[in-house]
Symmetry: C2
Subunit: 228 residues, 2 copies
């Protein structure tokens, strides 16, 4: 169960937490469960006080889960409407460590930081991380320009390309901090592709067909995480 804040000691149950543990999971006094904070920490907890009508968790010392060998960051133009929601949900399920919205020359949607959209994406990402039993919820940043993206450190940088390049096979297994950049409808401009090239990005061919932004992002996450 997600628990916030995750701290060693006594954690009184909120109404939602109580309903979930006692009604939905039907746990009884003395039963043990795993709790986690979504930031990579987890702990064993014991459900107590149920019989006395005042249930709480006794949380043991939180441990940090090992970091994944591949930390994948998806930097993507923002698709319209619920296509962005799907992108967030699916790249989370597939194991992305972070999602960065990109401001590109052909971008139509540029979400405002702190807006309701960001709140919804955080909720979706949180639910998807739980669904796929991930210890860490991906970070969500942006929108950033390509210039701003340059200041982040990565071990490998890729840009999704519709042109098949046979000369840049993926390292297998793929490890470390990896970035994949995904363009908007209509793709990156030649000027942007030039910027990527000058910043040490490799082209990553994904599919013989024209993919929508969210499809390319999900496909890239699937292909890169399968190379682990």
């Amino acid at each position: 169960m997600p628990l916030s804040p995750l701290r060693e000691g006594t954690h009184p149950l909120s109404q939602d937490e109580g309903r979930y543990l006692l009604k939905a999971l039907r746990l009884g006094d003395g039963e043990k469960l795993e709790v986690f904070d979504g930031d990579g920490f987890y702990a064993l907890a014991t459900l107590l006080g149920v019989d006395a009508g005042d249930a709480y968790l006794e949380v043991s010392k939180p441990q940090e889960a090992p970091r994944p060998e591949l930390e994948l960051y998806v930097a993507s133009a923002t698709p319209k409407g619920d296509r962005a929601d799907w992108l967030v949900e699916k790249v989370t399920e597939l194991g992305a460590s972070g999602l960065i919205w990109l401001k590109t020359e052909r971008s139509v949607v540029i979400p405002k930081p702190g807006s309701k959209k960001f709140e919804r994406w955080a909720r979706l990402s949180d639910a998807a991380a739980r669904q796929s039993r991930r210890m860490r919820v991906p970070t969500l940043e942006g929108p950033l320009t390509l210039e701003e993206l340059k200041t982040f450190e990565f071990d490998h940088r890729f840009v999704a390309s519709p042109i098949k390049e046979s000369d840049t096979p993926l390292p297998s297994p793929l490890k470390g901090k990896v970035l994949i950049a995904i363009g908007p409808e209509g793709g990156f401009t030649d000027h942007e592709l030039e910027q990527f090239k000058n910043s040490g990005y490799n082209l990553l061919w994904l599919n013989p067909h024209v993919l929508r932004t969210e499809t390319a992002a999900i496909a890239a996450a699937a292909v890169l995480t399968a190379h682990l």
Copy 2:
């Protein structure tokens, strides 16, 4: 433009077709365009009669587009609600030649052949094929049992597995008729996995996390088509 039926000779424009060519694309008399039937045939057509107020297409002899080297069939349990719609749209964009719904032991949704759902999926698939500029719209079949699926011929058969098997690398490039089977929420049963094994399926590991059915189907299509 999609055209049905696609036949050599004179094709009077329907109201929709006229609106699309004359209003949306603003084509004039004598202009040429490519028309296709979604079953792999295409032809060059000339727009005529516009100035006379009675526009029609003069269609040349239809040609068959070469079949793709990889013909990917996704056989999947049906996810609930709009998750099935997304599966249909995304595996079409990624280039699947066919989608087969599976009746599995843990299936919750078993769509009825000929139902409104199948009509909607056909429309979605058609639109997605056009979006990704595919000449062939995927076939949509099922729901089939694993027994019934056995009667189809494939060059390679895979079943998506959450367990990493390092001993069955994908052939690269992957060619011919390829089947990937995707289980329902909760996965295939041991009995079903035994059936797959006895029918010559290889396990295909996709991702370190627990994936929803539609995510696994889309990820599998992405990984397999990227191996072309």
